[in-house]
Amino acid sequence: MEVQPKTFADRDALIAHVRALSPSLSPEETFVSDTKGGRDAGQALLQNIDPIAYGRSRDYLGGAVSYLSPYIRHGLITLNEARNLALERGPEDGDAKPIEKFIQELAWRDFWQRVYQQNPDWIWHDIEDYKTGFTAEDYADTLPDDIRQAQTDCAAINYFITSLQTTGYLHNHARMYLAAYIVHWRRVKWQAGARFFLAHLLDGDPASNNLSFQWVASTFSNKPYFFNLENLQKYAHPQAPCDAASNQPLSGSYEALAEKLFPYGEPA
């Protein structure tokens, strides 16, 4: 058995080696993320965290997020390290409220891992019924081509798909928008969306990704998650194209959208 190399002339040589070791990869897949693997890269991001600014702005696509998730996902950085540093960077008076959102987000990861440990079979199966007025059979098994090709009728959604495919990253709010679009606007099974995310996200984790998809779909929550254009414009502008003319299907009040998306009964 041959030991594989650990030194390369440059990143292109490493990428070529990864391809050579990966015959299952489609030759059409060409994008590589600018985000580099390794503890040093993760440490640099860790040292940059601003948990107070995160708490104020994290819902916005331009918010002060940490970009630590791929490093946490693969164990290069621990939740414990991130929490300990966040505690040091909290207010000097010891008030924990301004850093609560940051620490709670770390806790979500811990929660998903605990659920995964207890119920590994939940990851690909509906934990509960859909609460959308539809049954699982009403949802398509596969992702439509226009979604794969970022050619849908919503410019913001196309922007999210392209970002996902080229960078391997999506802001958490953008993940929720795209997941909701796939499941509720296009009535595609959450499993197809989850598989698409896992193929592209650097931080894609079976527990966090799939259980979040089930939360959006309503098979692991009390009601489906959906959004409207007004919400998108508030949080995703100016990063994503959010004008009404190129995002028509997302337009409308929550009541009007619920009637359209869930005509057989939308949960309270």
């Binding site: 058995m1 041959e2 030991v3 594989q4 650990k6 490493l14 990428i15 080696h17 990864v18 391809r19 070791l21 990966s22 015959p23 299952s24 990869l25 060409t30 590589v32 580099k36 693997g37 390794g38 503890r39 791929p70 693969h74 164990g75 290069l76 950085i77 621990t78 939740l79 414990n80 390290e81 929490r83 300990n84 505690l87 924990a96 620490i103 709670q104 770390l106 806790a107 979500w108 990861r109 811990d110 929660f111 891992q113 605990r114 659920v115 995964y116 440990q117 207890q118 590994p120 990851i123 391997g168 598989r195 896992l198 193929a199 592209h200 996200l201 650097l202 894609g204 527990a207 692991f220």
Partner: protein
């Protein structure tokens, strides 16, 4: 008889407690079929390989079970030590290897020092118990 560390994709850190265990060598198995089953594309695979460059492991390519069995035989290892993971595919591999090797799973530093909760379903049920520890250095450990 010696011990072999099998590092997998959930624990790519030289400071993971698994490395504190006495061992002869540490390896990572680049398993194309496993990665395909996990739906990993090129971006993820490059990230993983880059993360391996700075770790004290030798990288081998092949089927994980067959390669680990061969490496254990060659090293006359009786024990396989690996980071704890909830991933059922990795756990299945450990179970298969436990027929011929003593398999030891080593947990990483915990976020909160909290025992598993039965019937865990909703986040806030967990959070109500975890919150105080989550705001404590080292999670109360």
């Amino acid at each position: 008889m010696s011990a072999l560390i099998w590092l997998h994709e959930d624990a790519l850190r030289a400071a993971h407690p698994v490395f504190a265990e006495p061992h002869e060598r540490a390896v990572f198995i680049w398993d194309d079929a496993y990665m395909a089953a996990m739906d990993y594309g090129l971006k993820r695979r490059v990230f993983l390989y880059e993360s391996l460059l700075e770790l004290p492991v030798e990288i081998y390519a092949g089927d994980t079970i067959e390669t680990l069995e061969a490496l254990a035989r060659a090293a006359q290892a009786s024990c396989l030590i690996s980071p704890h993971t909830p991933n059922p595919r990795l756990n299945h591999i450990m179970e298969a290897l436990s027929e011929t090797l003593r398999v030891q799973r080593i947990a990483d530093d915990a976020f909160v020092d909290l025992p598993p909760q039965e019937g865990l379903r909703r986040f806030f049920k967990y959070w109500n118990k975890a919150k105080k520890l989550a705001f404590t250095r080292d999670g109360g450990a």
